[in-house]
Amino acid sequence: MITPFEHIQAAHCENGVTTNLLQQTGVDKITEPLAFGIGSGLFYIYIPLLKINNGPAIAFRTMPGLIFKRTCKALGIDVVRKKFRSREQAELFLEACINSGQPVGCQVGVYYLSYFPKEYRFHFNAHNLIVYGREDDRYLISDPVMETVTTLSRYELERVRFAKGPLAPNGQIYFPKEHPPVGDQQIANAIKSGIKRNVRDMLRIPGAFAGVKGIKYTGEKIKKWRDKLGEDQAGLYLAQLVRMQEEIGTGGGGFRYIYAAFLQQSYAFHPYDELPEISKIFTEAGDLWRTSAVQAAGIYKKRLGSQEDFNTMGNYLLEISQIERRGFEALSKIKWRS
């Protein structure tokens, strides 16, 4: 059975799935930046002792799954979310959904995701896509990071739904339930709560590793990487930082541009002059993240490599930390009138 379905390309997979599934249920005004901002998607964390792919564990966005969950909740929409032990049960449930015309979000691992380029296939298990139908033995797939729809065989889909390792998807399926129409006032309220939660996450989270403090902490660490790790290993670490920051899904500048777009779009729901002004601060942060990536590339391409070059790199992050602090403090001072 094939449900009428319109593919939407997005920068980030979870934003894209959330936006698309919500539009399917009639929330016409939702966009990728709004879903990202309402879900308080912007974040930063560097977990010092944890290693991912032999490099530092760094994230520029909130935990996988939270954007969908928070955005639906803030709009007053109940969600269905199911995990499975049995592969048979997981497929039966999927079949039942698409037979009833319900496109569903699926969490998958990318290592065995056959249509992904080999270079991108790491053991990353928090990718998201939409299954919207089946034709013979192939499931119809809308992967938000792609320009067009694609397909996977039963075996291929089962394999990625049951990828193993950290954040194993366990066949996870999710979608928003039927709901009453979502009005502008509800979106406005959701934007307000999304911004307030993001202010809290970035400014007031305890510990030195997360939020704007975490960016500063990373900057200080980077200055020591050359001596501590040696140039080769330090280059690998910086390459990993840049990949987390810029790889498909961030919209550029470690999600900072998407957040700036969110603040700009929020103006339609909260006509305060501060919002487009604060948006510019996040554009500035995104621009500086990208400037720092160019510096990092100089180091991992072995064009740069002196301690002075590492200091410059670290100082970029100290400056970004200050810019983002300024942005979130300005957001925390907004006087919400509705």
């Binding site: 380029p117 792609m146 541009y257 510019k280 590339a297």
Partner: protein
């Protein structure tokens, strides 16, 4: 970033898809634009894969020198640590660490080897001979 500055460099995305960027137009409004890739991050990905290639080569040499069983080679080849391999095979991590010893690996039953073969998408003979 301005829309006209969205990078259009060659990258591994070439036969897959262009990616979405958020950037500002002349009036300063955010719009989306497509990119073929950015050299800075294409280089970062190259660096990561060169490191993996070196790990695979080093693992292969260790196996040839009888310092490790072929499992080490396949783990590096598939970017797996003991935790991920444990999740795919159902073996405990301490068992996997034992199986990395050539003397223990030699005595593994075909049943156990077939679990590894499934995880590595290959056959038992391929694992034993490091051919694939």
């Amino acid at each position: 970033m301005k829309k006209e500055d969205i990078p259009q460099d060659p990258s591994s995305l070439a036969n897959f898809s262009k990616e979405v960027y958020y950037a500002t137009d002349n009036a300063g409004n955010y719009v989306t634009g497509l990119s073929t890739g950015w050299e800075v991050k294409a280089n970062a990905l190259d660096v990561a894969w060169k490191d993996i290639e070196q790990r695979v080569a080093a693992a292969k040499q260790k196996v040839l020198d009888k310092q490790a069983s072929p499992l080490l080679y396949f783990m590096e080849l598939h970017l797996m640590d003991a935790g991920i391999l444990s999740a795919y095979t159902g073996f405990w991590q301490w068992q996997i660490k034992r199986h990395l010893k050539p003397s223990v690996f030699r005595r593994l039953s075909d049943k156990k080897l077939s679990k590894y073969a499934a995880a590595f998408n290959t056959g038992i003979d391929e694992i034993k001979t490091m051919m694939h």
